[in-house]
Symmetry: C2
């Protein structure tokens, strides 16, 4: 389908939303001396406990080459380590160091005005959130595949357990 | 509000949606020898007929410095011209050249799989699109202000007239 009137509308609004998320994410990472990609990838490694480059690329929607560059920088900063799998030396895994765990934990406290807005919007429009999530879930499954969507859903279910446990650490 | 379970979900899904839009937009621009920013800014200039750097920055959600770089490249490619306002020589306006008009017209024919998906989704979920647009409109007004939202709404209303007129050119 070519660009039409409604697509012009959505294209501008979806891009506006994306800009807000990206800028807030970037600012929140920068406050802790990280880039958006570094912060994002540290979260993936944290939620996965150990993760291969391919897995990070897949569930983070990053190019493999970007993941490799970011991991290199994070190794340099002392936040992650790359280990060989004992059972298959061709496979490498990334894990957080103790320092990386502390840093990841700090990023959890950063606030996002976008989510305040969404929470307020939800109060005025009950039921909308479920529809918004369904739409995004289906679109993401269509464009990014099952592995990405399943990861988002699983880590959302585990989120409270994982993040409150680390909260006590 | 700090990052919570639902925010983790939305953060990943909104970013996934944004990636899809950006990649498709980039590909459609690249097919015609343009960057996403060049294509976007040519559309703004087209819809505005003549536009100042500040206006392009405001309604395109770009930094002024990015707009200036992109305009410089577009002048070099022969797609836009920068003119001084007769009544106020401190003000410059950007307009499309004839070559720029032809190029902008070509970009209109590019298709986006994301919009095919949204159209199909809408058929299965009647009424959802209005809610999705309302949500985005309100969020964009909150984060990017009235000038941006009013521009999106006005250009959406004028879209069919403007693009079909140029279709005949």
């Amino acid at each position: 389908m070519t660009v039409s009137r409604n697509n012009h509308l959505l294209m501008n609004y979806i891009r506006g939303m994306a800009k807000t998320l990206e800028e807030e994410w970037q600012t929140s990472a920068r406050d802790l001396g990280l880039t958006l990609a570094e912060q994002h990838i540290m979260w993936i490694v944290y939620l996965e406990e150990k993760a291969s480059i391919s897995r990070i690329a897949k569930v983070g929607l990053w190019d493999r080459s970007t993941v490799m560059q970011v991991i290199k920088r994070l190794v340099g900063k002392g936040y992650v380590k790359v280990l060989k799998d004992d059972r298959d030396l061709r496979v490498s895994y990334v894990i957080l160091t103790e320092e990386g765990k502390v840093k990841r934990q700090q990023t959890q406290k950063e606030s996002f005005e976008l989510f305040d807005f969404i929470e307020e919007y939800q109060k005025k429009n009950p039921g909308f959130m479920e529809q918004l999530v369904s739409f995004h879930r289906e679109a993401n499954r269509h464009f990014h595949g099952d592995e990405f969507v399943d990861w988002v859903e699983t880590t959302t279910k585990e989120y409270d357990i994982k993040t409150s446990a680390s909260g006590k650490a």
